[in-house]
């Protein structure tokens, strides 16, 4: 494992050959990780934040994701990169990114976006035995002192397969689809909708890539309208792709679909400004009620 910060317990457990402290040089960290993986090692890069992935974007895009293909299948790159996204930290535009929309455009790259502690455990466990590169994008909310109070739809941290969406909550009147932070927003909205006697199903995409288009279509068909919720802007959200598929696959009519996405704006430090740019539970609830023809919740 490569990291740029102190990890004394891991050094004690694994030694400095396996727990390698690096300078703040994410570009070369990831390039070196590719080299190690190419010669058969399993490498985990703790890049700290998704933002620093952009420093390492070249080796991610041009080497990790291409070496297998360019070599005609001779090599593989069993590399896991994990980093924090955004959630109540107020670090501003250069440190806060919902990167899954951008990363899912890299062919072959698995982009895992855990929504809860057990999902994080399950996706990381799967990543560590996956033969190809995986980026695990972790919400800082998973690390707050109140992490145990986060909604936990998964019963255990058992390994989770990539490209398989999960049902975080059953419900028959409407479906709310989230990824990462928005799964909790959808669960909160489901609670609000219950006050309006609306039973909402919540789906957790779990991975932005592979995207479980058919699985979600199967869970949505015949289950009323759907609200697709993402902190990423619709310009690069998997929800845009998913929405098109749901309509084309006949799971939904186009007027039974709503997208609630983040604004295409860099993250401001001001908490009140940041909140205005991100989907909140009330936005999801409102969108669901409008789709159900009950805009006032009556």
């Amino acid at each position: 494992m490569f990291c740029t910060y102190q990890q004394d317990d891991l050094i004690e457990q694994y030694g400095t050959d396996r727990m390698v402290r690096m300078p703040i040089a994410e570009n070369t960290m990831v390039g070196m990780a590719v080299g190690m993986a190419l010669v058969g090692r399993r490498v985990l890069v703790s890049i700290a934040r998704a933002a620093f992935l952009f420093t390492a974007f070249e080796p991610l895009v041009n080497q990790a994701a291409t070496w297998r293909y360019m070599s005609g299948g001779q090599y593989s790159v069993p590399l896991v990169i994990r980093g924090l996204t955004r959630g109540d930290e107020h670090l501003g535009a250069q440190h806060e990114h919902s990167a899954h929309g951008l990363l899912r455009q890299i062919p072959g790259l698995v982009v895992a976006v855990p929504s809860s502690p057990n999902t994080a455990g399950g996706l990381l466990a799967a990543a560590l035995v996956h033969p190809d590169p995986v980026v695990v994008l972790e919400s800082p909310r998973l690390y707050t002192p109140e992490w145990q109070r986060l909604p936990e739809p998964e019963p255990t941290p058992a390994p989770l397969p990539f490209g398989v969406a999960g049902r975080a909550r059953p419900g028959g009147d409407v479906t709310l689809v989230g990824i990462g932070n928005t799964v909790a927003s959808c669960l909160e909205a489901a609670g609000q909708l219950r006050q309006h006697q609306v039973s909402a199903q919540v789906i957790d995409l779990r991975t932005a890539a592979p995207l479980d288009r058919d699985g979600v279509a199967g869970m949505i068909a015949g289950n009323g309208p759907a609200v697709l919720v993402d902190e990423a802007a619709r310009d690069c959200s998997p929800m845009s792709d998913l929405g098109l598929h749901l309509v084309q696959a006949g799971a939904l009519d186009q007027d039974r679909l709503a997208l609630v996405c983040g604004a295409p704006v860099p993250a401001p430090v001001s908490p009140v400004l940041a909140a205005a740019l991100l989907p909140q539970a009330a936005d999801v609830t409102g969108a669901a009620l409008r789709l159900l023809g009950r805009p006032d919740g009556g």
Partner: protein, 329 residues
Amino acid sequence: MISAKAAPVSLSDQYLEMLRIRLFEERILAIADQGLVAGFLHPGTGQEAIAAGTLAARAPGEWVVSFYRCHGHALAAGVPAEGIAREILGRQGGLCGGKGGSMHIADRAHGFLGASSIVGTQLAVAAGVALAERTAAAGRAAIVFCGDGALGAGVSFESLTIAATLGLPLLVVCEDNGWQDHTPSPLVRHQAPARLAAGLGLDVTEADGNDVAAVHEAAVALLARCRRDRVPQVLVARTFLRDFHAMTGGQRPPEYRPEAEIAYWRERDPLDIAAARLGRPAAWFTAARERVDQELAAVFAAALAAPLPPVDSAATDVTSPGATAAVPG
């Protein structure tokens, strides 16, 4: 601890390797002139001594990492000419199924990790390989080639610094030909490569890159140091591209370098220097050239006659076979 050891390679064998590289590259250039090579072609003509001399010091099992000017490195690493030729020409039997092409030759069976064609990035990859070797503790080094232009890239500084800090058994062979594509290197850097690397605190050795004996002697010593002491070594080998940086679309670039410089290096052809050292009768060289030429003629005839890759292979090898398994074990 297993000690990696290279079987000594004679000067005549190193000469033959250089000759093979030269004739291979000339054939590729002739075919490229007909528009039969897709993409960029970076000929290694004029720099054969660095590939042959360095890799003659390579021990079994040592990985080699290269960049876009990789044909000579691959040949000298023992990668079959057939596989390289077919890959460059995009024919079946190419090492990479037509997906890598000239700039990305890779051959796992011969320890040729591949070529990363973004300038400098191969240093980071090779540093990672060297770290794997350091922890494997089998006495192996890793070898990476770069041009002098690579030392302008941030990734190179990071890689060299980390290699020095972690004590990586890495040999960086810098083919210093004084040019970065069409830019003369002194125009865009304030210190020569050897001074830059030494300024970072690395062990640097300079050698005449057109004298295969000098390159080889340096490589033997530096690789031994890497393996034994786990200290990265930088070998800056001064050389010159006989032809040009790159061509594409069947068009050779017009000459962009001063005639005086070209003339100077024409007198220092690495094949001539090695031949003078060998001191054999002319007939020996003639026979060698005929032999190698015949071998390559057969290689290229077969390559040009081979079919194109099947279209249904276009989307394969993006991910590994196990990647689509539903639930991990």
